[in-house]
């Protein structure tokens, strides 16, 4: 496989993971902006509305954020669910969906999180700008 194809293929896998993450989060009633760090989240970059749902199906966003970050850092979704599942108010269906994320996919989610948070600010005024 050529380098270009390898790179394309890994990016496609990442895009697939992003698509999967987006649909799983929508089921939980939260948007992708849960991956933003505090500084970026406060700018309300994401205006996407999650799916309409019953109140009891909605998870606790702060708890889910901790869970996802723990899963990303540890590469172990099961342990993350064990640790934060209750705080995130996950039901069985949510747990099942989250458990389907493999270690490789969690690595992709980490990169995706970095992309979302990575927009560089311009720390100076350019001479002609």
């Amino acid at each position: 496989m050529s380098n270009q194809n390898k790179s394309q293929s890994s990016r496609m896998r990442m895009l697939a993971t992003a698509a999967k993450l987006s649909s799983v989060l929508a089921v939980m009633g939260v948007s992708n902006s849960i991956l933003l760090n505090e500084a970026n989240a406060s700018e309300e970059k994401d205006e996407i509305k999650p799916l309409e749902m019953k109140k009891e199906d909605k998870v606790d966003e702060a708890g889910l954020k901790k869970l996802l970050n723990h899963a990303i850092e540890s590469g172990d979704m099961k342990a993350a669910i064990e640790k934060y599942g209750k705080e995130a108010k996950l039901n069985d269906k949510h747990k099942e969906l989250l458990r389907s994320f493999t270690k490789d996919e969690l690595k992709d989610v980490e990169q995706i999180r970095d992309y979302l948070n990575g927009e560089k600010e311009i720390p100076f005024r350019t001479r002609r700008g």
């Binding site: 496609m12 895009l15 999967k20 987006s22 560089k120 720390p123 100076f124 700008g129």
Partner: protein, 643 residues
């Protein structure tokens, strides 16, 4: 008074950085002078009074001031009263004519009329000036100092003059010297003529000549009378011709110790987003051949010269090692990156472990591999001279590039995660509405690329518009009206010599006001749409899938196979129709007669642009750094089979 103790007691020279200028970066000029004097064994301190001022008024209001049109010179006006004395009617006139734009010199600038909030901030900034100048006088034991050097760029002139006047009055033994961009050429001469408390003015690059000057003074010798350096009492009668090209490898590394000490170690201001300044070249290699008509960055300094790659690398390594704990951002102040660096310096940077965020100004006619090199070397923010997509306007500007090349550049920037900072320029002598309307048609198709700010051209000193106005049909060249309030005691002729920003009368399209509104609106729409727009593709060698999530999208997903896929990939780089036909003959001879029709389909789908029979694909590959906005993720879900 605490600063008196902080100042190096052996400092015979104090270099001063006055407001209003950013406190996020050190002064490169003063930091180089400090090194030059250090090397000569002369004690020198750089005093960043702009930091003290920012502590008084706060960073927020200073950021507001940065958004105002530069030629309003509000930063200078804030300090002008201290220099010239109180005059309420003059103040009122400045506010009415300049800040409220009654002079109508910024007719298309979004922020030309200041809001009441910003205006009250400006008044606050002004209200602390007298006390602030007292503080500057009090903060240093000037009786121990021999030479005070002021750097003056942009809106530092009035504050610098105000403090210089006061220091000379209180400490007549001080030798007061000025340098920096505000002193270049005739601007420096008039400074010397009109302000008798100024003893010396450097008209151009000062590192060596200032060192010679100070060395002579401290050894009680008569300073050498360099043609680049005016000294009171020995000014030659002929106009000075400034600057001889220097060997840039001989310029010392800047010393930023004083900046980081005052800005981080001693200041309560936030230490986020600080950066270092570095210079790797002077002049402009493009301007030497074709001076862009609006560019006033170079006077006699156009002659291009640059540091060797080895020397530049040494400097970057040195600065990162010394100051990397404060910041890993380096803003390079060059007018334009040396082309040699694409094969010399940048590969070294890429292969180093410095991990810097670097800013450079660049020309936009680069190849794709150059953008990749930029990204790999850490050039994450760049300022390309894009200016326009109109071939006619670009030709009038002498930019040496086409509109489609500019689009290609923006696409590759997006692909490699390099952020371009660029302006869309309008208001040129000789432009017509249609020059803009044609470009505005492209804007919705480009909404996934980094948008510009819109900027209406100004006539700057040293630009061809200024030096040869009649060639461009410009009449009655005169300084912006702000200068009248900054230099109330000057004659018109003297103001024309001290000014950098000018206006002139020239023929403009009769409907300029109507199209300027459309241009401003279109740029704002692009800025808004950029956050959520996406147009990208992925390719599995049989099928190329284009995902279109722009407001102008005709289809959300387009799948291309065979000749169409090949055509789209081929037009990643600008291709002429004749080139495409000759290439398709080799691969798909049966398709040669259908090429135009296939290209037209892609044009109809708005995923390709054509200009002058040249074609360019607009979708960004996800092969490199690009990753689509979250808005788009679920729209691609159908292409995959998630678990």
């Amino acid at each position: 008074m605490k600063d008196k103790q902080e100042l190096n007691l052996s400092s015979k020279v104090v270099l001063v950085n006055m407001p209003i200028v950013t406190s996020q970066t050190p002064s490169l000029g003063l930091s180089v002078l400090k090194s030059e004097l250090d090397a000569r064994g002369i004690g020198c301190s750089v005093r960043y009074f702009n930091i003290d001022y920012a502590e008084r008024v706060g960073l927020d209001i200073l950021l507001d001031l940065e958004q105002l049109p530069t030629a309003q010179l509000v930063g200078d006006w804030i300090f002008s009263e201290n220099l010239w004395g109180k005059d309420s009617s003059r103040d009122q006139e400045y506010i009415e004519q300049v800040l409220k734009d009654r002079a109508n010199e910024h007719p298309h600038h979004d922020n030309r009329c200041v809001s009441d909030d910003v205006l009250s901030g400006i008044w606050y900034c002004r209200s602390v000036v007298d006390e602030f100048i007292d503080h500057c006088v009090d903060a240093v034991d000037w009786s121990q100092v021999k030479v005070v050097g002021f750097t003056s760029m942009f809106q530092q002139h009035m504050a610098s003059l105000a403090l210089a006047r006061r220091l000379k009055a209180d400490f007549p033994h001080l030798i007061i010297a000025f340098g920096g961009a505000n002193c270049a050429s005739d601007m420096g001469r008039v400074l010397m003529e009109k302000f008798d408390f100024v003893d010396a003015v450097c008209l151009g690059m000062g590192e060596h000549v200032f060192g010679d000057f100070v060395t002579a003074l401290l050894s009680n010798k008569t300073p050498y009378n360099d043609k680049n350096f005016l000294i009171r009492g020995s000014i030659p009668s002929l106009p000075q011709i400034a600057v001889k090209p220097e060997n840039m490898n001989n310029i010392p590394f800047p010393n930023f110790d004083d900046f980081f000490e005052q800005r981080v170690d001693q200041s309560s201001l936030s230490d986020e987003h600080l950066s270092m300044m570095v210079e790797t070249s002077r002049g402009c290699w493009w301007g030497q051949k074709h001076h862009c008509t609006f560019c006033g960055l170079n006077n006699e300094t156009m002659n291009y010269r640059f540091k060797s790659a080895e020397r530049a690398m040494e400097e970057f390594v040195y600065l990162t090692k010394k100051y990397g704990d404060y910041t890993k951002t380096i803003a390079v102040v060059d007018n334009i990156i040396p082309m040699d660096y694409l094969r010399t310096f940048l590969p070294k940077l890429r292969d180093s472990s410095l991990s810097l965020d670097i800013f450079y100004e660049t020309k936009a006619n680069l190849r794709k591999e150059h953008l990749k090199l930029y990204r790999d070397a850490g050039l994450n923010i760049i300022q390309p001279g894009i200016e326009s997509f109109s071939n006619r306007l670009l030709k009038m500007m002498k930019k040496g590039i086409t509109g489609l090349q500019n689009v290609q550049f923006l696409k590759w920037c997006r692909e490699f995660g390099v952020r371009p900072v660029w302006n869309y320029l309008a208001g040129f002598p000789g432009e017509v509405a249609n020059d803009h309307y044609q470009q505005l048609e492209w804007f919705p198709l480009l909404s996934h690329f980094t948008p510009p700010d819109v900027s209406w051209i100004r006539i700057d000193r040293f630009s061809p518009y200024h030096s040869n106005p009649s060639q461009y049909g410009i009449k009655s060249l005169r300084p912006f009206s702000a200068f009248k309030f900054l230099y109330p005691e000057f004659t018109d002729e003297e103001r024309a010599r001290v000014a950098y920003y000018f206006i002139g009368d020239y023929e403009v399209a009769h409907d300029m006001f109507s199209y300027s509104e459309k241009v401003n609106r279109a740029v704002h729409q692009w800025q808004d749409a950029f956050e959520y727009s996406a147009l990208f593709y992925f390719d599995d060698e049989d099928t190329l899938t284009i995902v279109d999530d722009r407001d102008c999208a005709v289809k959300e997903q387009i799948k291309l196979t065979g000749v169409d896929r090949w055509l789209y990939l081929e037009c990643d780089q600008i291709r002429s129709i004749s080139k495409l036909k000759s290439k398709v003959l080799e691969r798909y001879p049966e398709a040669v007669n259908s090429i135009e029709e296939r290209l037209q389909r892609l044009l109809d789908l708005k995923v390709m642009l054509v200009d002058d029979d040249k074609y360019l694909s607009l979708a960004v590959s996800i092969e490199h750094e690009y990753f689509p906005p979250q808005h788009t993720w679920d729209k691609v879900a159908s292409n995959f089979s998630p678990a």
